[in-house]
C-alpha cells in the first residue's frame, strides 16, 4: 500500500470531487477516505488514496492533479502520508 494524501484548498465549486474521483478511477488509484471542512471561509478537502496499483508515477499524478486544480480554481496538492504520520503520531 502506498498512501498519498490529496488536499484541495480554495473556493467551493460544483464538480471538484467528481473531477478528482474520475481522475483517480482512470489511473487505478483507490480512494480510501474523503473528508472536507471549511477553514477561514475556504473549502478544504482531503482524500486518502492508495497509489500502489496506480498506472502513472507519483510525480506525473501530482502534476496532473495540480493542473486539474488550476482549471477548477483551487489548489490541489499530493503528499505521501508519512509526513503527517511522522508529525502527528508517536
Amino acid at each position: 500500500m502506498k498512501r498519498v494524501i490529496v488536499t484541495v484548498v480554495g473556493r467551493d465549486t460544483v464538480g471538484i470531487i467528481a473531477r478528482l474521483c474520475t481522475y483517480m478511477a482512470e489511473h487505478n488509484i483507490n480512494i480510501l477516505d474523503i473528508s472536507q471542512t471549511i477553514v477561514s471561509g475556504f473549502f478544504n478537502m482531503m482524500m486518502i488514496v492508495d497509489m500502489a496499483g496506480a498506472t502513472t508515477p507519483f510525480d506525473v499524478v501530482a502534476a496532473e492533479l495540480e493542473a486539474c486544480g488550476q482549471d477548477l480554481g483551487v489548489v490541489v496538492k499530493c503528499q505521501r502520508e508519512e509526513i503527517f504520520d511522522s508529525m502527528h503520531r508517536i
Binding site: T37, N44, I48, A62, Q79, E81, I83, F84, H88
Partner: protein, 454 residues
C-alpha cells in the same frame, strides 16, 4: 488514520509559517584520498565527492516533491582539509588549489555549499593547520561554494591564542580580499570553540574524523512555526509557554527525522543526526527574534532577553530530542543578525548591541553570527572578540562560534546587502578600546578547572 485537521495543521506550517528542511548535508570522508602528490590529491578529492554526492541534489528534490516539504539546501561537508592536504601542500597556494577542486566538485554535483575547508586547532597549530589558515583569504575569494571553519579551542584543552591572534588577521584579510563584494568572504568563514563533528549547517560544517566514510545529516528549521504556536498562549504561564514550545519543536523535528531517514535510504548512506535548530532566514515571519518578542520582549536586547532565549533554547532541545533517534550538530536556536529581520530591526532601533549578543551566546546555540562591523576594526580587536567567545564556550562546555564581517569601506550608520539567505545588516559598533597587549601574548590559555563551578 490521519484526519483533516492534522493535514491542515501540517500544511499551514509549511505554506504559511515557513516550515522547511533547511539542509540535507552529506558528510564525506576524504581520508582515503590522501597522497603526497598534489595533482593526484585534487583528482582523488574531486572524484570521490562526485561519486558519493552524484544523486544528492536529485534525491533532495524528489523527497521535497513527494512529501510537499521544501528542502532548501543540499550541501556537502568533508574531512577538514588541513588533515587531507597536510602531506601534499607545501605553501598556502597549494591549499588554495584544493579549495578550487572542492569548488569544482560542488559545482558539478549541484550543491549549494561545500564545507570542510577547515583546520582543527585546539592546543596548537600544526604546520599544515597554519598553511591552511593563511590560505583562507585567497581560497574564499577565488571560490563561490567553499565554506571555511577553524576550531581554536575546547573545554578539554584550552584556547590556542596564537591561532586566535592569527584568525583576527585572517578575518580582516578575507574581508579585504572580497572588498569589492562587501567583504562577503567573511560570511563563509567561522571560528569555533568545541566544534561538533556532525554539524550540517554552514559555514561551519565539516566531516569530523570520528565519523564514518559517508553520512547524511539533516538540519530542520521552523522559527515561524514556534512563533505562530506561541501566539495562541499570550499571557499564559511559563509552564504553558514551555509546553507549547516543546510540542512544536517535537513536530518540526519529526519532519527532519523522516526526511533524514528517507534520504539515507534512497542514497544508501547511513543516517547520522538531525540537527534540531531554529534557523531563521531574512523572510518575514521566519525569525527567532520574533519568537523572543512573542515570549514578551518589546525588542530582542531588552532586559530579560538572555532568560527568554535560554528558555527557548532549552525547550527546543527537550521537545526535539525524543522526536529523533539521533540528535547532534549544533541543535538549538541560532541568532544570526543579518539572516533574521527581527534582529536587524532590533539593531537599527538601538535595542541590540554586540555586547548583549555576546551575553545571549552564553545560553543559545553557537555564537556571534553574521554580524557586520566597521571595516576599520583592527585585527587585534577582532581577535579579542573571538577570544571572548571562545572563552564562553570553553568555560561553559558548549559550542561557540564567531562569524563577523568587517565590511571594508563601511562604518557605523552604513548597511550591507549580502543577498539571499545571508540577508542584509546594519554595521554595528565595536568597543574602540584596545586589547592589543592582551592578544599579542604568545601561547595558549590553559584548560579550565572542571570543578568548583561558581
Amino acid at each position: 488514520m490521519i484526519n483533516i485537521a492534522e493535514v491542515i495543521e501540517t500544511n499551514q506550517m509549511i505554506e504559511e509559517e515557513n516550515l522547511d528542511v533547511r539542509t540535507i548535508t552529506m558528510g564525506i570522508s576524504l581520508l582515503d584520498c590522501i597522497t603526497p602528490d598534489l595533482e593526484q590529491l585534487k583528482a582523488n578529492i574531486y572524484d570521490k565527492i562526485c561519486r558519493r554526492a552524484r544523486n544528492l541534489v536529485g534525491t533532495g528534490e524528489s523527497i521535497a516533491r513527494e512529501y510537499g516539504i521544501p528542502v532548501i539546501n543540499k550541501r556537502i561537508s568533508v574531512t577538514p582539509i588541513a588533515l587531507v592536504g597536510g602531506s601534499a601542500c607545501r605553501c598556502p597556494e597549494d591549499f588554495v588549489e584544493l579549495a578550487e577542486a572542492l569548488n569544482r566538485a560542488a559545482g558539478e554535483v549541484g550543491v549549494n555549499f561545500i564545507g570542510g575547508y577547515s583546520a582543527l586547532v585546539t592546543k596548537a597549530m600544526s604546520f599544515a593547520d597554519e598553511l591552511l589558515i593563511r590560505s583562507i583569504p585567497q581560497a574564499l575569494a577565488s571560490t563561490e561554494l567553499v565554506c571555511s571553519s577553524v576550531n581554536l579551542g575546547s573545554t578539554r584543552v584550552g584556547i590556542d591564542m596564537d591561532a586566535v591572534r592569527l584568525m583576527g588577521e585572517i578575518v580582516l584579510d578575507t574581508a579585504r580580499a572580497t572588498a569589492d563584494r562587501d567583504s562577503i568572504g567573511c560570511a563563509k568563514l567561522v571560528v569555533f570553540c568545541n566544534a561538533p563533528d556532525d554539524n550540517p549547517f554552514m559555514a561551519g560544517a565539516f566531516h569530523g574524523v570520528t565519523e564514518g566514510d559517508c553520512i547524511i545529516n539533516v538540519g530542520v528549521s521552523g522559527p515561524g512555526v514556534v512563533k505562530h504556536a506561541l501566539e495562541s498562549v499570550r499571557g499564559a504561564s511559563f509552564e504553558v509557554l514551555c509546553e507549547t514550545i516543546k510540542k512544536t519543536s517535537f513536530k518540526v523535528t519529526r519532519v527532519g527525522q523522516l526526511v533524514a531517514r528517507e534520504a539515507s535510504r534512497r542514497l544508501d548512506v547511513p543516517f547520522g543526526v538531525v540537527d534540531l535548530s531554529l534557523a531563521p532566514t531574512p523572510a518575514i515571519g521566519d525569525s527567532v527574534a520574533d519568537i523572543l518578542c512573542e515570549i514578551g520582549l518589546e525588542r530582542p536586547g531588552a532586559p530579560g532577553t538572555t532568560a527568554a532565549l535560554a528558555l527557548l533554547n532549552d525547550q527546543v532541545k527537550k521537545g526535539g530530542i525524543m522526536a529523533s533517534s539521533y540528535v547532534g550538530g549544533l541543535s538549538g536556536a541560532f541568532i544570526p543578525v543579518s539572516e533574521d529581520q527581527g534582529m536587524i530591526d532590533a539593531v537599527e532601533a538601538g535595542a541590540l548591541t554586540l555586547e548583549k549578543l555576546e551575553a545571549m551566546t552564553c545560553v543559545c546555540s553557537v555564537g556571534l553570527d553574521m554580524i557586520a562591523i566597521p571595516g576599520s576594526t583592527s585585527a587585534a580587536s577582532i581577535a579579542g572578540i573571538i577570544a571572548d567567545e571562545m572563552a564562553i564556550g570553553m568555560i561553559n562546555q558548549k559550542t561557540t562560534a564567531v562569524r563577523v564581517i568587517p565590511v571594508i569601506g563601511k562604518d557605523v550608520g552604513d548597511a550591507v546587502e549580502f543577498g539571499g539567505l545571508l540577508g542584509h545588516a546594519p554595521i554595528m559598533p565595536v568597543n574602540a578600546f584596545s586589547c592589543e597587549a592582551f592578544v599579542s601574548r604568545a601561547g595558549r590559555i590553559p584548560a579550565p578547572i572542571h570543578s568548583f563551578k561558581n
